[in-house]
Symmetry: C2
Subunit: 483 residues, 2 copies
């Protein structure tokens, strides 16, 4: 609260311009490209620029020169004819400082060090190299991203961490201290319809850090939702100011790792972070209306939720799908989290019973449509009726993989897809927000079928969850933490 | 405690013999087989008997007679020449009572009603039909399984609920009130190496109920682990006696659904159960050393754990795998549940550093072997050294799907399998209990690769978990709830 006035300020225009260079460079040079190992993991940056058709010049640098993947290779930074905004470095840690000096001479604005082997290894040499790098950066004015990180994914400017990331943009911005978690989170959520404005994996954050990125994404009109994976924070006071401003303007979701003592020590080893007191983080989120999650799958659920659902208060739910035991357990998940699954009013029950038999179906709420497999049109009709029930804020539909398992043989498996389709058609006809649960498959063929069904729901703008616990937890965190 | 003396009793010999008829019938008749719909879901019982090569006679009954799937079809029960131990009925609810009368005349010991449409629909007709069924059963002495359930899976006697269930036996017995959850749970765990002695889906439990099955499995020498999915209990006092005896002799894992008020109402709709006070169930588990879980995936994790790991107290863990952010989050999961991830002793760290570089690897605990992709033999060597660390009770290895995602292209994907293999070879050489985490794939091809890797771990007798939360939660519940 004491930062209210400061919170109204935006980040300085020059800082914003520097970050623009990183997220939207006009030209990129990649140095230390392992020409002899075109399949190397380190090649993803180059492959991504090519796959995304980066619009500016891409310069590769290797003392050998020549040509590589259709691009000219320059022996050094100095040999490049045009200006270079941004350098991605795959060189070993010991060459970092010298590269920054060279970059300064060339007029480079920022260097991203993919390379590890700095302070995070907690050995004398690594600590020294990082200190030297920071000093050189300060002296020259070249900004540093990393080291020990995967860098930038910004579909709009055609830069990506992985070639297979989505090429279209969306409202989610990510500030990620771990590169692995960045790849994981984008992969987990891209198939569930989440799209991104700007994503940064910033590793040790020796120069540009979480506060810079949080300020930048707060001012970015394309970003509506900000997800953070933090292991620690460099400057608590500055971060708090950036945070206060961010939570006022965006949906902010925090995954703070290193929340236990040994976790904090692991964080120190991973990105040389000071993790801070976990209770402070809890209080910060609670007071500011930010959402705190505790695992990557939970973060993924939250990004899906924030992408597709309005942030309304959910008191009462209707649950609809097939499976008696499922209904009981799904009800427990919601009720134990403070939401209600009220009984179907008598008149509504009567109206549904007029056109459906009771055996194997339960018309109470949860509405168990086990028999929908034989009569999809009745489920669609029932869903339309249920959506007119005025006490209900949101509908959760579930399509259980177990019915795929029960239905052995081709003809029966077709029925499983028809069940999904009747739920989908029903979802299209309801007037309330709706969430879908589809459980994962245990064997490859199930996983493939589940995936195709999920894609159908996603393409209709429905948020898809993989378990009863996930959907109940996500709705509670997203819907009811703000009220 | 007041039941101590009674707790020492075993179930009556005659009750045991009656249940033996159900789990190990000498002959089975299936009535109400939908001959015109050989692909019908209701056909799974017949398909299972054929697939499992049930050793006794299988009689199909349909007024039309003839032949079906290579089996003779009899017009009625009376037309069957030999004795019939056990009848599986697919007839509508209204014919149930009459079938029991017929069965009694034929000398049948027990009838399993797959059919729904009894008390669980909470309508006058269904309630009346079930009451009538119970009365007829009492009068005739024929025992009833169900109604509204999927019945028996007992690999030893070659009876199954689904044709694709495993044909080999194992130590896990299941008492399941929901048929869908039974199919789900067996499917979820069979690929993780869990095998079963006797499984029963008993639905409404109008005659034989959870207490009968709990007594039976407690006396069954082939069952070491008992998993229960209950929506309610018919006779609290009797169940308590059965429970007290079971927890003394077996590992007992309880999933009690209907734990919230609306959940209890859903349970009433599903299997006409009275759910009881949830706090009572909590206390019962805590006092008796039974393990209470709250979801089907948690139950699956617990069955995997109880199958593969000793029930030792776990204070200290070593964590090993690739991925920095992973290490931090995995550490948090264990530490927040009261287990410790202590730092690697200096001498051990030095010995590992002698043969491995530090950049990109963290030798602290968690031990991050991101570089193992290039040097698997070093990871194996390091794991052997770590397993000699005497403070450690258990080792958790993690193989992240994200590395599959990072490694685009065939050659790099091969590396991902080599990383898994080095973890597997390492696991074989360690002298401590070990658990493995492999995360699910987001797209079908990933899911297929993850599945093949998981099968390799499972075939070496390793428990496999699908998330950091799962493994930490399962170890806490299983290992540290008993001490």
């Amino acid at each position: 609260m004491e930062n209210k006035e400061m919170g109204k300020e935006t980040a300085g225009a020059s800082a914003m311009a520097e970050l623009d260079t990183i997220f939207r460079p006009r030209s990129v040079a990649v140095i230390g490209v392992p020409l002899s190992r075109p399949d190397s993991v380190a090649m993803d940056g180059v492959d991504s620029l090519l796959e995304f058709q980066f619009s500016g010049p891409i310069y590769l640098i290797n003392p050998r020169g020549g040509e590589f993947k259709g691009l000219k290779v320059y022996p050094s930074l100095d040999h490049i004819p045009g200006t270079v905004d941004y350098v991605i470095s795959l060189l070993p840690a010991r060459m970092a400082s010298e590269l920054v000096e060279q970059s300064a001479r060339k007029g480079v604005k920022a260097v991203h060090f993919l390379t590890a082997g700095f302070s995070e290894i907690n050995e004398e040499e690594g600590i020294r190299l990082e200190a030297e790098l920071v000093q050189t950066a300060k002296k020259t004015g070249v900004r540093i991203l990393g080291p020990n990180c995967l860098g930038i994914y910004c579909p709009e400017s055609r830069i990506s961490i992985m070639p297979q990331f989505p090429k279209d943009s969306g409202p989610v911005g990510l500030i990620m201290q771990s590169g692995g978690n960045t790849v994981d989170l984008v992969n987990m959520t891209m198939w569930r319809g989440v799209r991104f404005s700007k994503v940064v994996s910033y590793g040790n954050g020796c120069d540009l850090n979480e506060s810079d990125f949080l300020e930048y994404l707060t001012d970015d009109p394309d970003t509506k939702i900000i997800g953070l994976y933090l292991e620690g924070v460099k400057d608590g006071k500055r971060f708090r100011q950036a945070w206060d401003r961010a939570v006022k303007e965006k949906v902010v979701i925090l995954l703070k790792a290193g929340s236990t003592e040994a976790g904090a020590q692991a964080a120190a080893s991973h990105t040389a972070s000071l993790a801070g007191n976990d209770a402070v983080w809890d209080a910060l989120c609670r007071q500011s209306g930010a959402i705190r999650v505790h695992s990557l799958p939970e973060m993924a659920d939250m990004l899906v939720t924030a992408t597709f659902l309005p942030r309304i208060r959910v008191k009462n739910l209707a649950l609809i799908g097939a499976g008696g035991g499922s209904s009981v357990m799904l009800t427990d998940e919601f009720e134990s989290r403070g939401m209600r699954v009220p009984p179907l009013p008598d008149d509504l029950r009567k109206r549904i019973r007029e056109f459906t038999p009771a055996a194997g179906n339960i018309f109470r709420n949860p509405i168990d449509f086990s028999q929908a497999v034989f009569e999809p049109e009745k489920q669609i009709k029932a869903m339309k009726l249920i959506s007119e029930w005025k006490d209900i804020d949101l509908i959760v539909g579930f399509h259980r993989t177990l019915y795929y398992r029960i239905m052995t043989g081709e003809a029966k498996r077709q029925l499983w897809h028809e069940m999904a389709d009747s739920l989908l058609q029903g979802a299209k006809s309801v007037s309330k927000p709706m969430a879908i649960v589809v459980e994962p498959g245990a064997v490859p063929i199930e996983a493939a079928e589940v995936f195709s069904v999920c894609q159908e729901f996603v393409s209709c703008g429905l948020p898809v969850y993989y378990s009863f616990i996930s959907v109940a937890n996500a709705l509670r965190l997203y819907m009811n933490s703000a009220f």
